[in-house]
Symmetry: C2
Subunit: 478 residues, 2 copies
C-alpha cells in the first residue's frame, strides 16, 4: 500500500508540464532509487547537460536530491554541484552520510561552498560545516558576509550535542504589546522571514524572552487582541546549554513543534524545531542500538572495509579478553572435565542461558534509563522484580535443562547439578543486567556502550564456575 | 544544566497567584517526581479535597498529570479521576503504561469515561479506547453522541499500525477558491477548531484533497490572494492504509509537521501530526531494541513478575534449544575432548568471538533495513563488504588468539588450529549476520526479532565444528 503511494508521489514530484521527472521515474516500488534514473543523471553529468541538471536539482526535494547524490559515483557528485552552481540546494548535502558530505565539501572551491551556505538557515549551515576540520571551516566562513559568519561562528562555539548547536538563529520576535493585527502585518511586510516557522515570540526591548504564541492561536484571534493575552503561560523553553537528548525528551513529552532557546540571561537567541528533534531522536535510537550490538555509533553504511574493521576491532578485543577470562574458569576445572566430558559439553549451555536472560534484563534497563522511566524512585522495586524474574525463569529452566541433560548423558546427578547452576546463573544475570547499567548511568558512563561486556562476562564466569563447582562437590570429582 | 531548567519550569508550571503548585515543588533535580509531592496529592485524595485536586489537574500539563497518576497507588488513581470529574483531562491517561490505563478505565463508570472521551480529539480518544476489550469499548461508545461515536468507530476499523488508526479526524478544510482573507475570517469565526493545527487543506465540494497551505505561508500572504496560489505542489499525502512506520519515515525524510490522510478515492479523511509520528518513531526504536535483546515489545516497566517472566520465557526456550544444538556438536567430539582437554577450555572462545562479530554485523543490517538504507540496489556491495570485514578481523584475531592459546597450553599446533577456526567463524558470522536479516526481511518477517537466534546458532555450530574438526585433523585425534 505504502509502495503505491510512493510511486504515485515520485511521479508527481515534478508536476510542471514537460518536466524531465515526468518521463524519468525516480523510484521503484520498494521506494529505492531506480538504477536507470541514476544512470540517466550520470550521463547528463558526463555530457555537462546544464539545463537538464538544473531542472532536476530544482524540482527534487532536498531529501531526494540527497539520495541521488549518495547513489552517484564520488567524482560525479562534485561535478553535479559545480555544473548546477547556485541552483544546487546545499541542504541536500545534510541528507547524505558524513563521510560523503565531507568528501564533497573538501573537493569543492571554498567560494562555491560559501555561496551555497549563504542560502541556508543557520542550523543547516552549522550541520553542513561542523564535520569539517577547522582550517576548511575557516576558509569557507571568511567568504561569508559578516552577519552570517558571526551567527554561524557563535553557534559553533556551543558544545556538540547542546541545544545551542542544534538551534536556528532565524525566528520572529515582536514586542508583547503588539496586537494580532500588527503581528500579521509585520509578517506580510517582512521579506526575509524564516523558511518555516510555527510560532512567534514576544521579547522585551533587550531581547528577553516573554512568551510564545503559536500560529494557530494567532489565527483564531481577532486583529485588536494584544499578543500578551495569547501567550501560553506554561510554555517550556530551552537553555542553550541543555543537552539535545534532554530537549528531545521535552518535545516528545509535551508534544512541541518548536521551542525558544534562551541564553543564561533569558535572552532569546534561537529556536529549535521538531525536524531537528526528530533527527536527534533517530540518532539517539541509532546510537543505543549500535552500542548494544558492539558497533561504534559513527559507523556508516558507506564506510569502507578498513574503517569498519578497525571500528569493530576494539569491541572484539574486549570480548576476547573476557572470553579468555571465562575460559580460565574452565581451565581451573581441567581435571574434572577430563574425568566427565559431559561437563565440557554442557557448560556452554549454562553460560548461554544466563547470558541471554541477562541481555533481556539489560536491554530493558538501558531503554528505561534512556527514557528516564527508571530512576532513583523506582530503582529498588525494579531491581527486586528483575531478581524475581531471574529466579522464576531460573526454576523453569532448571527443570527443563536438568531433564534434558539426564536424558542425553544418562548420569542421574547431572540434572540436579545443571539445574542448580542454571538457577544461580539466571539470578546472577538478572542482577548484573539491571545493576550494571544503573551503576554506569550513575557514574555518567553510557550504559548502552559498556553494559554488554560486563554482563556477559558475569554470566560466563558465574555459569562455568557454578556448574563445575557444584559438579565437583556433587560427584566428588577432584 | 538541563536540570536547572526543569526545576525552574516545574516551579513555573503553576504561575497563578496562590496556586498549590507554587508551594509544592513537583520534580527534583533529576526531573523525577518528588515523593513529597506525590504524598501530598495522595493525602488530598484520601481527604477528598476536591478544590485542591481540581486545581492541580487543571494546572498540570497532561504529560505531568500522567506521571503523577503513574506514581499514585492503583486505588488512588481511580479516586482522583472520580473526584475531579469533568476537570480531569483524559488525554493524561494516554501518557501512562497500557496496563495502568486499562486498569483505570475498567474501574471507572462507562459514563465517566464517555464524558472524558467527548473532550478529546479523535486520535486521543482512539488511543485511549483501543486497548480495551470490545465489550468495554462498546459500553463506552454507546454513551457518546452519534457523530463522535461514528467517527471513533470508523477509525477503529482501520488496521492497527495503519495511518488511519493514528490520524485525527478534526482538521480544517476549505474550498480552494477561497482567499487568504476568507480563510482567516473562517478561523476567527469558527468556535470548535481542532485544538492544534499547522496547516489548512483545500478540498473540492466532494471532499477530494486539492492541496495544503501551511499556516506560515498563509500569514505571509495578503488577504486577497487565493489559496490556490499558495498550495505547495509537491506536498506529500498519506493513504489511510499506509503503515505507520512508512508514514514516520516520510515525515522524517521530508521534515513534515502534519500530513493529510486520504482514502482510496482521494477524499480527505484525517490528518496525522508530528506528535503522533514522534510516538511512532519512539515505539519502533523501542521495538527494534527490545527485539534484538530478546524482549517482547509490549513488556512495560509497570508489569508484574509473572507477566514479565512469561514474556521472556519463550525467547529463552528458543535459546535453550539452539544451545543444545550447539552442544551436540561438542558431543560429536567427546573422544577428542577427553584426549585434549584444552580443546574444551578454548572452544567457547571461538564461538564467542564469532557470535560477537556476527552480532555487530546483524545490528548494522537490522538498522539499515529499518531505515531503508539497505535495499536491493546496494545489497551485493554490503554483503561483500561484511564478508571482507569478517575476513580482516578474522585474520587479526586468528593471530592474537593463536599466540595466546599457545602461551597458555604450550601445545604448538593449537595456535594454528584455533586461528583457522576463528577465521572460519568470523567469516561465517559476517555472512550470517548480513544474509539472515536480509532473507527475513524478504519473507516479510521482522529481522530484529528473529535474526539473533539464527545468527548465534550459526556461530556456535560453525565455531565448535571448525575448531574441533580442524583439531581432529591436525593432531590426528580420533
Amino acid at each position: 500500500m505504502a509502495e503505491n503511494i510512493d510511486v504515485a508521489q515520485a511521479a508527481e514530484a515534478g508536476p510542471g508540464q514537460g518536466s524531465v521527472l515526468d518521463h524519468l521515474l525516480m523510484r521503484d516500488e520498494e521506494g529505492q532509487l531506480r538504477r536507470e534514473f541514476v544512470e540517466e543523471i550520470a550521463r547528463a553529468i558526463h555530457a555537462a547537460d546544464r539545463p537538464l541538471l538544473c531542472e532536476v536539482v530544482a524540482e527534487l526535494h532536498e531529501a531526494d536530491l540527497g539520495d541521488l547524490i549518495a547513489a552517484l559515483e564520488p567524482e560525479d557528485r562534485v561535478t553535479l554541484v559545480e555544473i548546477t552552481g547556485t541552483d544546487f540546494d546545499f541542504s541536500a548535502l545534510n541528507e547524505v552520510d558524513d563521510a560523503v558530505r565531507e568528501e564533497i565539501l573538501e573537493e569543492l572551491e571554498p567560494e562555491t561552498v560559501a555561496e551555497g551556505v549563504r542560502e541556508l538557515e543557520s542550523d543547516d549551515a552549522v550541520q553542513l560545516l561542523q564535520g569539517l576540520d577547522e582550517e576548511d571551516q575557516e576558509e569557507i566562513l571568511e567568504k561569508l558576509p559578516p552577519p552570517e559568519r558571526v551567527a554561524i561562528e557563535r553557534v559553533l562555539l556551543y558544545p556538540e550535542n547542546s541545544a545551542g548547536r542544534r538551534m536556528q538563529t532565524e525566528f520572529i520576535a515582536v514586542p508583547p504589546d503588539w496586537t494580532v493585527g500588527q503581528a500579521i502585518d509585520y509578517m506580510r511586510d517582512t521579506p526575509d522571514l524564516p523558511d518555516r516557522f510555527y510560532e512567534i515570540y514576544a521579547v522585551d526591548s533587550e531581547q528577553h524572552w516573554q512568551g510564545a504564541v503559536s500560529l494557530d492561536t494567532l489565527l483564531r484571534a481577532r486583529r485588536p487582541v494584544p499578543l500578551v493575552d495569547l501567550i501560553e503561560e506554561d510554555r517550556r523553553r530551552v537553555s542553550v546549554l541543555d543537552d539535545q537528548e534532554e530537549v528531545a525528551r521535552m518535545f516528545g513529552k509535551y508534544n512541541l513543534v518548536a521551542a525558544p532557546v534562551v541564553d543564561t540571561t533569558n535572552r532569546l537567541v534561537g529556536v529549535i524545531t521538531i525536524d531537528d528533534v526528530v533527527d536527534v531522536i533517530e540518532e539517539e535510537a541509532d546510537e543505543d542500538l549500535k552500542a548494544l550490538g558492539g558497533v561504534t555509533s559513527d559507523e556508516e553504511l558507506s564506510d569502507n572495509v578498513w574503517t569498519i574493521a578497525r571500528g569493530r576491532f576494539n569491541w572484539l578485543l574486549v570480548n576476547l579478553a573476557t572470553a579468555f577470562l571465562a575460559s580460565s574458569v574452565l581451565g581451573l576445572f581441567e581435571g574434572q572435565l577430563e574425568k566427565m566430558v559431559a561437563l565440557a559439553v554442557l557448560a556452554p549451555i549454562v553460560a548461554s542461558q544466563g547470558g541471554n536472560a541477562a541481555t533481556q534484563t539489560m536491554t530493558v534497563a538501558v531503554r528505561a534509563l534512556a527514557t528516564r522511566e527508571l530512576g532513583s524512585n523506582n530503582a529498588f522495586r525494579v531491581v527486586m522484580r528483575e531478581a524475581m524474574v531471574g529466579l522464576v525463569n531460573g526454576l523453569a529452566f532448571a527443570v527443563i535443562t536438568g531433564v534434558a541433560a539426564v536424558a542425553w548423558f544418562k548420569i542421574p546427578g547431572l540434572g540436579v547439578v545443571i539445574g542448580l547452576a542454571i538457577i544461580c546463573n539466571l539470578v546472577a544475570g538478572a542482577l548484573g543486567g539491571i545493576l550494571i547499567p544503573m551503576v554506569l548511568e550513575r557514574v555518567r558512563a553510557d550504559p548502552a556502550v559498556a553494559s554488554g561486556t560486563f554482563v556477559t562476562t558475569i554470566t560466563d564466569v558465574v555459569g562455568f564456575f557454578s556448574f563445575l563447582g557444584i559438579a565437583t562437590l556433587w560427584f566428588g570429582l577432584k
